[in-house]
């Protein structure tokens, strides 16, 4: 098994093909605007094909970009809550390796008393939910 980091990348030749298609489509559209008065029928054909080509290559490019974005693994922030046994003060900090629930934490910042890790969790920010009738 080899570690192949290029799995997340888009092959160069695919990008070249897409860019060539975009250039050709734009050229067709430009040519159409130049000859529209002299050869209107040919100009319309060029315009239609140029527009279809530009839309399709643009869409493919967008899809490839999304694929690269999707390839990342998200690491949500994890918070650790410490509670002082003496004064009851709660403090929240980022999770550190070795933390576990009911482990004694660092001394309390207020009274220097013993603290206890009482919670470790991640908060998920839900996207604006649609009004769902069911």
């Amino acid at each position: 098994m080899q570690n192949q980091s290029q799995t997340a990348k888009v092959p160069g030749r695919v990008l070249i093909v897409i860019f060539v298609a975009i250039i050709l489509s734009l050229t067709a559209i430009m040519l159409a605007t130049i000859i529209i008065d002299v050869y209107p029928d040919i100009a319309w054909i060029l315009l239609i094909f140029g527009a279809i080509g530009a839309i399709m290559s643009g869409y493919t490019l967008l899809q490839l970009r999304q694929r690269v974005l999707r390839t990342k693994i998200e690491t949500p922030p994890i918070t650790t809550t410490l509670e002082c046994k003496a004064c009851g003060t709660k403090s929240v900090r980022e999770f550190q390796r070795g933390d576990y629930i009911f482990k004694e934490g660092e001394p309390c910042q207020k009274c220097k008393g013993k603290t206890l890790i009482t919670a470790i969790y991640r908060e998920v920010k839900e996207k604006d939910k649609e009004l769902f009738p069911f």
């Binding site: 192949q4 029928d41 054909i45 690491t75 629930i101 998920v124």
Partner: protein
């Protein structure tokens, strides 16, 4: 013959050409689209699998301080398999399965010890879980790749179609394992540990004793009842053997147990909120079924009623770091347990409360 320059003629010709292409090659085009879709997911699966492998190796090097590079051993480990016992004659298959799982567990632990000699017991358990998540990712990737290549080789729409149809669910599972991998590597509590957290909260401050392999029990007074609260021994990644633990407690009390209450994380249906607490009847425990079998055997022997309290979450939440909603629902589950104890048992009764789940990142 003159080339038609009339736009309508050209468009109608184009329409007939497209129609003919789709008439004869429609299915093939559809198949190529499906193959491309599977290929895209396969890229992502490969990335996730490689990342998983990288995280595993890095964690072993960081925690285990091995003398030699563990890469080759990890790669060998990722290809590990377990053959389930023959069930043509189902009598006794549970014990055979238990034996196979015990051997597997011992083997994994030995491998981890060899790979990471400096790791303590908690870290070794976490590493074992990390490796198992890596194994799962490797297996998912290989199965999808198998069907993708088979579909390309045979050009069969039906081979590709069956994998393309389940792909969204497979991807969800793979992404869940990817986040599980990081949680295991860092020793963070996961959603599946909701049951263990309930038991940990109930037993905090009370004396615990070892009751079965990787399981502890504490005697806790709850609403005038004596509760034997069982959980897997944390904070390392561990599910313990709750089947044996419950059986031992019941036997120690000669079957004089008024009720067994089990708490576990359970799969929610789409539309249900994460962390919803529900109550029901039966042994709330997942896994291969060995522990559920043992619990049910013990209950039937003494005719003990069994109640279950579940905390709902989806597959992604179950193996990724615990969500706040799940953490908050633990207190609600404790309230529900007390309510069940009040309603279903009498004062002075003995009850068993078993918090089921992976206790990673949860002490006692």
């Amino acid at each position: 013959m003159q080339f038609p320059t009339d736009i309508q003629t050209i468009l109608s010709m184009l329409f007939y050409v497209v129609f003919a292409i789709f008439l004869f090659y429609g299915q093939r085009i559809q198949m190529y689209i499906m193959i491309r879709e599977v290929q895209g997911s396969l890229y992502r699966l490969k990335y996730i699998r490689d990342e998983g492998r990288k995280i595993t190796i890095e964690t072993i090097k960081e925690i285990g301080k091995p003398q030699v590079d563990p890469t080759a051993r990890v790669d060998r480990f990722l290809e590990y398999f377990t053959i389930s016992p023959q069930n043509l004659d189902p009598a006794g298959v549970v014990w055979k399965l238990e034996h196979i799982l015990d051997v597997r567990d011992t083997r994994l632990k030995d491998e981890v010890k060899t790979m990471a000699p400096a790791a303590d017991e908690t870290q070794a358990n976490n590493l074992e879980n990390t490796l198992e998540a890596g194994m799962a990712l490797n297996y998912i990737y290989k199965v999808i790749r198998h069907f993708y290549l088979l579909g390309k080789k045979t050009l069969s729409l039906y081979v590709i179609m069956q994998i393309q149809m389940i792909l969204p669910l497979v991807m969800r599972e793979a992404e869940a394992y990817a986040s599980a991998l990081k949680a295991f590597a860092y020793g963070q509590p996961i959603g599946d540990g909701a049951g263990a957290l309930v038991a940990a909260k109930l037993t905090y401050g009370y004396e615990k004793r070892k009751i079965a392999k990787d399981c502890v029990v504490a005697t806790v007074p709850i609403e005038g009842r004596t509760a034997f609260v069982i959980k897997a021994e944390g904070p390392g990644g561990n599910v313990g053997k709750p089947g044996d633990a419950i059986k031992t407690v019941i036997d120690e009390n000669e079957g004089k147990i008024a009720s067994v209450i089990m708490i576990d994380a359970a799969m929610k249906l789409e539309g249900e909120p994460v962390g919803e607490v529900s109550e029901g009847i039966g042994a709330a425990i997942g896994g291969p079924g060995v522990d559920q079998f043992k619990i049910e055997e013990s209950l039937v022997k003494y005719r003990i009623p069994i109640n279950a309290v579940i905390i709902k979450e989806d597959v992604g939440d179950a193996v990724s770091p615990m969500r706040k909603e799940i953490f908050d629902s633990v207190d609600k589950a404790i309230e529900r347990i007390k309510q069940v104890a009040l309603e279903r048992t009498k004062e002075g009764d003995k009850i068993v409360i078993a918090g089921i789940g992976n206790t990673i990142g949860i002490g006692q």
